[in-house]
Every structure is written in C-alpha cells, then in structure tokens.
C-alpha cells in the first residue's frame, strides 16, 4: 500500500466514523428532547419541533410545545456544546502539558469561577446588576491570569504550569470557603454547592447561541494548530526545530481553552470527568493525530454529555441529580471497557 492510499484510507475511515457519530449525536439530541418527566406523545414531540422550524403549523398544547422546544431541546443542544467544548479543552491541555491527567479545570478555572459566583451570590458584589454567570466568568479569568503570571505565560514548562494551576485552585477554593463560612448560612452553602456541581437546569436558547459560538470558534482555532499540537508531543525543542513558534502557539491555545472552559463553567457549573476521559477514549479509537483526535473528541464529548444529562433527569423522579455525579457514574464503567480493551489489544 502506498502512503497515498493509506492516507485516503484513513481519511475515509475517519470520515465514516465522524458521519456515524454525527448521526448518533442527532439521535442522542432527539432522545434528550423526547425523554423527560412529563409524558408527551411522540407525534407531539415531533410536531413541536417542526412547528418551530415553520414546516408545520399544528395546534399543540402550549405547555407541551414549550417543554419540548424551550426546555428539552435547548438543554440537549447546550449539553452537546458543553460536552464538545470540555472534551476539546481536555485533549488540548493533555497535549500541551504532556500530562495524561490534565483536564479543563487543571488551570484553576473552576475554582476561580466558584469564587466569582459566591462573591455575587453571598457577598452581593455588584448588588444585583452583575449576573452569577458574569461573576463566574470573571472569577475564572482571574484564576487563569494568576496561573499565566505564575508560570510566566506558560513558558516555565509543563510541570510548573500544572503546579501554578494547583496553587490557583487551592487559593480560589480557600477564598470560596472563606466567603461561605464567614458570610453564608447553611442554606446558602447548599445553594452554592448546587450551583457549582453543574446543572443544565438554567439553560435556554440564549445559552445555546453563546455555547455554539464559543465552541465553534474554539474548535476552528484548535484545528488550525492541530499539526503543531502533533509536534508538541515530541517536546518543545522538537516542535521549535520544525519551525513552530512554540511560545506563541502555547499561549494562544491556553487562552482559548481557558476562555472556553470559563464560558462553560459560567453557564452550567463545573462538570468533571468529560474533559479528562473523553480525549483518552477518543485516542484509543482514532489514535493520537490531532487532525483526527479533535473532531472525534468533539462529537464523542457531545454525545456523552447529552446522554449523561438524560440520565440525570430521569434517575430521580421530580428531581435532578447534579450532572457531575452522572458523568462519573456513567463514565467510569464506559471508560473501564475502553481501557480494558485497549490493554488486550496490546
């Protein structure tokens, strides 16, 4: 087989895989729209969506229409965007930091977001004019800037950058605890926990628009640097010798992942596991090349989080489990299978 043939063969394989995954993603979103507490007939679900697209104009119960369109569909799509974004960030950070344990929150972003959120929720910073999400986003950026300063714009090396992230997480978690314990009551502490554990309960269409934009931009930027990321695997010097502006690429990618993660945390709280595990699972499936890995991460992460959200909504009647609990509960068995099979394959 010539290199050319192999190249096309691989591309076709990847294309087929992505096609199937995209169909699966659409099915998952359809399931997310169809499954819920309120029993709604299948045709109503279908028409509720087609009505909104302007394809049909069938008279439906407005409550059904609203639950399907404003609540379930927007929620499933936001879950898909967040899953895609988190998996993408995880893959980038694992490559940049050359650390298998790196995940979107490794640079202290979620700790910073929680400090921002409690400053708004408990201390009343901005006295109502600043939303919780804006506060969380600002907190996340503070933490990222702190890490960037400590690690000299990530030039200090992967190990030091991770340490700077740990320091930032500790600092901001301590600040959060300080605020909660000096100013909050038991109920507020619970509210903060509920908010931070991650939930898609508060998302509607505006969140989807924002999530879609940031995820698409983040994805395009990362794909643009996919070849450079491949080179990073062999170390900074090797990458530099290939003519890659190592420092610049690293700073850009760190900034993109931080902004993306901050946007996601501020919308839905911190959702663990997706960003850590989906990139590994994707690597087992398509290998380490970033041109293949990043699109795979995006669709797999999206499918995974949409499914996890469905589970979180139906496992307890009339109550929602924090999504982070479900991602770990669903994700660990799923990941165990992949890990086991990859070991056998060796």
């Amino acid at each position: 087989m010539t290199t050319l043939q192999r190249y096309f063969g691989e591309q076709a394989g990847l294309g087929l895989f992505l096609l199937i995954s995209t169909v699966l993603l659409l099915l998952a979103v359809a399931a997310g729209t169809g499954i819920g507490e309120m029993p709604i007939p299948l045709d109503t679900i279908f028409f509720a969506v087609t009505n909104k697209f302007g394809w049909t104009a069938i008279e439906l119960d407005p409550i059904h229409q609203s639950v399907i369109w404003d609540y379930r569909l927007s929620r499933a799509l936001v879950a898909a965007c967040c899953g895609a974004g988190l998996a993408l960030c995880g893959a980038i950070l694992q490559s940049l930091l050359r650390n298998a344990l790196a995940e979107p929150y490794v640079l202290g972003v979620s700790a910073g977001a929680s400090t921002g959120a409690v400053s708004i929720m408990i201390l009343g910073v901005g006295s109502g004019a600043v939303t919780l999400s804006a506060g969380a986003f600002a907190g996340a950026l503070c933490s990222f800037i702190f890490v960037a300063l400590l690690s000299d714009g990530a030039r200090a090396g992967a190990g030091k950058t991770i340490l700077a992230g740990v320091a930032a997480s500790q600092l901001f978690n301590a600040l959060t605890s300080y605020i909660v314990s000096t100013s909050g009551n038991a109920q507020q502490a619970r509210d903060v926990m509920f908010w931070l554990l991650g939930s898609f309960g508060g998302v509607r269409w505006p969140e989807f628009q924002l999530a879609l934009v940031v995820v698409v931009i983040g994805f395009l930027v990362c794909m643009y640097f996919a070849k450079a990321l491949d080179a990073f695997a062999f170390g900074d010097d090797a990458a530099a010798s290939l003519g890659i502006p190592v420092d610049a690429v690293r700073v850009i990618l760190f900034a993109v992942t931080a902004l993306l993660t901050a946007a996601i945390v501020s919308m839905v709280g911190s959702i663990g596991f997706v960003g850590l595990v989906v990139p590994h699972a994707a690597r087992f499936i398509v290998g380490p090349s970033h041109m293949r890995l990043l699109p795979t991460c995006v669709v797999t992460g999206a499918i995974f989080l949409v499914l996890a959200d469905i589970v979180s909504r139906i496992i307890l009647p009339q109550q929602v489990l924090p999504i982070g609990v479900v991602t770990a509960l669903v994700g660990v068995p799923f990941f165990s299978v992949i890990l086991y099979r990859s070991q056998r394959a060796k």
């Binding site: 819920g36 507490e37 309120m38 407005p62 409550i63 609203s66 639950v67 404003d70 609540y71 929720m121 408990i122 201390l123 009343g124 006295s127 109502g128 939303t131 919780l132 314990s181 000096t182 100013s183 909050g184 009551n185 038991a186 109920q187 507020q188 509210d191 509920f194 908010w195 939930s199 309960g201 508060g202 509607r204 909504r313 009339q318 109550q319 929602v320």
Partner: protein, 342 residues
Amino acid sequence: MFSVKSVSALCGLMLPLALSLTPAQAAATVYPLQLTNCGVELTFEKAPERAVTLGQNSAEILLLLGLEDSMAGTAFWPSEILPELAEANEKVKRLSQEIPTLESILAERPDFVAAQLAHLLGPESKVAKREDFANLGINSYVSPTLCTANHDTGDVHGARAELWNMDQLYQEIDELSQIFDVQDRGQALIADFKAREAALRARVSDETADLSYAFWFSSPSPEADAYLGGKNGSSGFIADLLGGHNVIQTEVEWPTVSWEGIMAANPDVIVVGQVALTRGWELDNAENKIAFLKADPAISQLEAVKQNRLVVMDAQAMNPTIRTIYGAEQVAAQLEELGLFK
C-alpha cells in the same frame, strides 16, 4: 353558669368562624387585577385556580389564607408544616421536598407560581426563570424580600444593616390575598399577626429585664462552630420583640461562632433551634442540643446553662418567615415558665 375556662374555650372555637364571618371590610378584587411584583407587571384576569408554590413560606401563606383548593402543588420544605395547616396541606400535592424540576411544575398545569427563594425562581435559578412562566401566560410572584431594590437589606445576602421586621411579609400576604380575591382573609391574617406582635410587645415594660439571647440554629457536629442567628435577622427581631437583644452583635445574617466566642458573649438565655431537616446532623435536634450544652465541661459552666435558661424554638422561625412570630410566642411562653417574662 359558665366558667371562665369554658367561655374562653368557646371563644377559641368561635375565632376562626368569626374571622370568616366578619362582614367584608376589604373590597373584593376587581379583575383584571394589575400588580407590580419586583419590577414585573402582572395582570390577573381571574383568581388563580392551580397555584404552585416554591418554598415553604409561600405555601404556608396560601394555606393560612385557606386557599388549599386553589393549589396544585408545593415544593421545597426545609421544615415541618405548621401543625394547624397539616390537614389542609394534605390536600395539596407535594412535588418535591427538595428543589423541583421545571417539568414537574409545568406538569401540574399551574396558572400561578409563587416563590419564596431566589434559587427556586429568578434569573439565577436552575429551576425556572420568570420568563419561562410568562411565555406560557402563567403569572409568577416572588416574595417582596427578593426584589432587587431590596438587595441592600434583603435576606439573600450576607449582611443586613437594619433590624428585620414583618412589613414585607405583610405586603406579601396583602398582595397574595388580592390576587386570589380573599382580601378579607388576608386583612384578617395581617391583623391577627399584628395583634400577636403587639400583644408580645405590650408585655414588655420598664421592669422587663433586657435579656441577651443567643439563637443557636444548628452545628454540623459537636466539635464544629455553631451557626447562630445574627443581630439584624429575624432572631434579632424576636429578641427585640421580647424587650431584649441578640447577644451576637455582628450584622452578618448567619454568623458562625466558636463556643469560646459564645462563652465570652455570655448570653442570659440560649434559644435552641429545632431543625426538621433530614440531613443527619445530630445537633439539628433541640434535645440533642440541650444534652450537648449540659454535658460539655466548659459550656455547662455558662450561667444560662447552669440556671437552665434554655428555650426550644422551631428553627424555621429564625428564617424571616411567618414562622418568626410563632417562634417569638414559643420563646415567650417558655420564658414565662422560667419567670423571666410576664
């Protein structure tokens, strides 16, 4: 012929009857009713028939207004229902003891949603935003204590600059009674609460000792620092109503205080909260609290503990709710037995 006792018992029986039979003092609501609630314009074409409440206080207000037949569901119950409302409350579906989902609320096909707490309904809520209901033509009402204009003094935040009082609760009762066209009952309820408030205040005289109170809500464990009710919260209001003051002088709503700090403050009376949450905190229970106070070698030396000036109160009264006035009465009755209040 009649003993004093039987007459007063008769009066007690008559009271609810009297309340409902009082000739209409308040005007009937004219629909469509327009109301501004926390900056949102509401229009009611008729009285709601399928109300859902989010938060115990909202539910208890509607039940006190006798509206159980107009309620489709309730959610979020951190404490036991007020005993006299238990029977009426049985008729209303409890969607969730905890935080409910939007779908479970909508499944009841509500025509009105009333909420007590910001995390149950509002821009930051993970449950629902007011627009979610407005888009479906469902009016929503949030407790006036949550209005943005009141952020400086509201209970959503950590500190309160002025002593809490019942005014916003009265406003809430008044507005809800207008919405449901039960203004007679609303005014009667407000009058009843005001009379009870005044009755307690009237018992305070120059001779009443200015007692210092510590309001112990709960502690995660015996080793942990205690959650106390702060100076300007409803705990402070209760102390003030009884002619005393809160021994805690910080403006923080729910300070966490070490036992050394409590001993240094040396309260005359310790009010121990009975918390009905099922979160497994041993010291949520008032009896366990008292046993702890008496058993601890250092704390048991406090004058209040030695003289058994320990008073039990439903902890829900330490939250600014209708239960606050019930809590004040509960404390007053026990102080009377201790000879500390006339």
